[in-house]
């Protein structure tokens, strides 16, 4: 592909964890992200789903190189971000922004909303005059649904939903091409969640943004994404167009995840077949051999223990990493 926008290839992030040895430390790699590849196109949303500890946040951060990659490449508009030095990386990040999960904790409590939103301008548009900056800040505040007269207030004076709007305004003020959203609505109440999701979708439509939308909530991901990546213990289980993934999930893990989500409809919720997974997530320090999901999978065989399944085509715009998806 020559018109590559964002290309992630075989990305690995391993953290060395000290595992015993008092004098001579021994380290075991914790494979938070282990060989993840995907493409993202302009104006597209890729949803990344998985349970806690599956590596979805680490993946988002590694794409921005906020966490260094152990191996693999993140190619942004043709440049490999992993090969850049600090200065070049900072320059590249003008187009790459992130919105965090905890709306209050991700804002500096001693800065006013206006200063928080204007900070990227100070870093990247240093020649801009104060008046111009203020105009831009007020403009973006209005765009994300904040009253410009709140510009001098501090984060604690805002509600959770409003704080998240400040975080989005800060991410949007440089008109970036890609925004990583790391669980942007999971700390918010249902009625506020919908407002923020709609705002993100509007911004995407208006500015042709690409979004990497990280979430554990499969219903919201279905609503916002064009394609969905399912992660389990740092590995891709399935990568598919939204319609295909939700209509015909191929990986046993995706099937279990989807069947586990409660549906707000008493008749359906009580009559549906739930695929119950047994047990808990294995320790990422000591993941199962072969397919990492096999210890909780109903279809697991000896093959799964000895051979790691590769992502293979399972239909139009659908790839799955399972030896037995056809069964």
């Amino acid at each position: 592909m020559s018109d590559a926008f964002l290309q992630v290839r075989d990305l690995k992030v391993h953290f060395p964890i000290r595992t015993g040895g008092i004098l001579i430390g021994r380290y075991t790699p914790l494979k938070a992200v282990d060989g993840v590849s995907f493409d993202l196109n302009p104006g597209e949303t890729l949803g990344v789903v998985g349970e806690s500890g599956c590596g979805k946040s680490t993946l988002g951060r590694a794409v921005l190189q906020l966490i260094g990659a152990t191996d693999g490449a993140v190619s942004w508009l043709g440049t490999d971000l992993t090969s850049l030095n600090k200065k070049e990386l900072i320059a590249a990040r003008e187009n790459l922004q992130i919105v965090f999960q905890d709306p209050l904790a991700s804002l500096d409590p001693r800065m006013t909303a206006g200063d928080i939103i204007a900070e990227p301008l100070l870093n990247y548009r240093s020649t801009m005059s104060k008046a111009e900056r203020r105009m831009m800040v007020e403009g973006i505040m209005e765009r994300v649904g904040l009253l410009p007269r709140m510009i001098n207030r501090y984060p604690h004076e805002f509600s959770g939903g409003q704080c998240q709007r400040i975080g989005i305004a800060r991410a949007m003020i440089l008109r970036p091409k890609l925004v990583i959203c790391d669980e942007p609505v999971s700390a918010l109440d249902v009625s506020i969640q919908a407002q923020v999701v709609n705002l993100l979708m509007d911004l995407q439509r208006d500015f042709g943004l690409a979004l990497l939308f990280i979430s554990h909530d499969l219903a919201i991901v279905r609503h916002i994404s064009h394609r969905v990546l399912v992660l389990y213990l740092g590995r891709v289980m399935e990568l598919a167009d939204k319609a295909a993934l939700y209509a015909t999930p191929r990986h046993p893990y995706t099937q279990a995840l989807l069947s586990a989500v409660p549906i707000p409809d008493p008749t359906q919720e009580r009559n549906k077949d739930r695929i119950l997974l047994t047990g808990d997530l294995p320790s990422p320090l000591n993941p199962p051999t072969g397919c990492v999901f096999r210890t909780r999978c109903g279809k697991a065989t000896d093959l799964c223990a000895s051979q790691t399944p590769k992502l293979e085509r399972a239909g139009d715009g659908q790839e799955v990493a399972c030896h037995h998806w056809k069964d």
């Binding site: 279905r222 995840l257 409660p262 549906i263 409809d265 008749t267």
Partner: protein
């Protein structure tokens, strides 16, 4: 049907440096034996405080007025000593966060058996044996080994099973589950919801399920009460609430919840944000966010009005059955 727990005109207020704040205002509820009541609302709606008051667990600056009767005994006027004999024995609570609600330095076996030793005067050996039996009943694998473990050695899902086991130890008449699956991953949530369904089907206890997740309520509750800004705005059977919601807030909540089974173009939103309890809007608290607001809503608070089938709502707008 007999009501095990009846709440009548309950108001819970907290004194703060900025004056008194009512978290719960004049609510009435009842739960029958063998029934599961879902209590739904967003943060700050008062759903948790209602039952914190019932268990005498309000913060020091909180006061509760009205009546809460457990099988005829008024809990609000009961002494601390009396409450201690009731809590755990006849009314038990399952909290949201299983890590912070278990004692970190006590072995699981001791935490569980303590309930029995305290309430039923059994000896330690019997206590531990019944604890083991209970861990098996909530399907904890290798239960015998878990008795000797500390809470931090268990995963989140197992800890929540221990919490449920602890609540069931004395087979209480009322079990209050406050956001029992909110802290859990979705596949583990499914396991815990299955366990709660099993508990509901096999015991004659009244279960109060406090949650913000409409999907969880749809699966477990028989009746649903919806709270907004400290008041109940709608109550009815789970079928009526989901198929024919009468209050604009309930309708809004259902409409703005993204669904896994339906493809939606654009999410419908409820405008604005939940009100500040210190400065509630006049009339109906929901009126600034309501699409159907009329003049009357701004000056007068709608009373709860009974429709058919015990379905009640607090809204002036006539309800058209869906």
């Amino acid at each position: 049907m007999t009501s095990v727990l009846e709440i009548d005109g309950l108001t819970v207020s907290f004194s703060t440096p900025d004056g008194d704040v009512s978290a719960v205002s004049d609510i009435s509820l009842s739960v029958d034996a063998g029934e599961c009541l879902g209590l739904v609302g967003e943060s700050g709606s008062g759903k948790s405080q209602t039952f914190m008051a019932a268990l005498g667990l309000l913060a020091d600056n909180g006061t509760a007025t009205g009546e809460i009767r457990l099988d005829g005994i008024d809990l609000l006027s009961a002494s601390e000593k009396k409450l201690n004999t009731l809590r755990g024995e006849r009314i038990a609570m399952i909290f949201q966060d299983p890590m912070t609600s278990l004692t970190p330095h006590m072995k699981i076996g001791r935490q569980l058996s303590e309930v029995l030793i305290e309430h039923q005067n059994v000896d330690t050996k019997t206590g531990w044996a019944r604890a083991l039996d209970m861990l098996n009943r909530v399907h904890i694998p290798a239960a015998e080994r878990r008795l000797d473990m500390y809470p931090h050695e268990l995963s989140g899902g197992l800890r929540q099973r221990v919490m449920i086991a602890m609540a069931l130890m004395c087979e209480p008449e009322v079990i209050v589950a406050d956001e029992p699956t909110t802290a859990l991953d979705v596949t583990v949530q499914a396991q815990i919801l299955d366990l709660l369904t099993e508990v509901k089907d096999n015991l004659d206890a009244a279960i109060v399920l406090i949650t913000h997740d409409l999907g969880v309520v749809a699966g477990l509750a028989d009746r649903v009460a919806v709270m907004y800004a400290g008041r109940i705005v709608e109550q009815g059977t789970v079928g009526d609430i989901f198929a024919s919601p009468a209050h604009p807030y309930t309708q809004g909540l259902l409409a703005c919840t993204p669904r896994l089974d339906v493809e939606t173009e654009e999410l419908i939103t409820i405008l604005g944000q939940p009100p500040n309890l210190q400065n509630l809007p006049s009339g109906c608290s929901f009126h600034p966010r309501c699409t159907y607001v009329v003049e009357q809503c701004k000056s007068e608070r709608p009373a709860l009005e009974v429709m058919n089938n015990g379905h009640i709502k607090a809204c002036f707008r006539p309800h058209v059955e869906a």
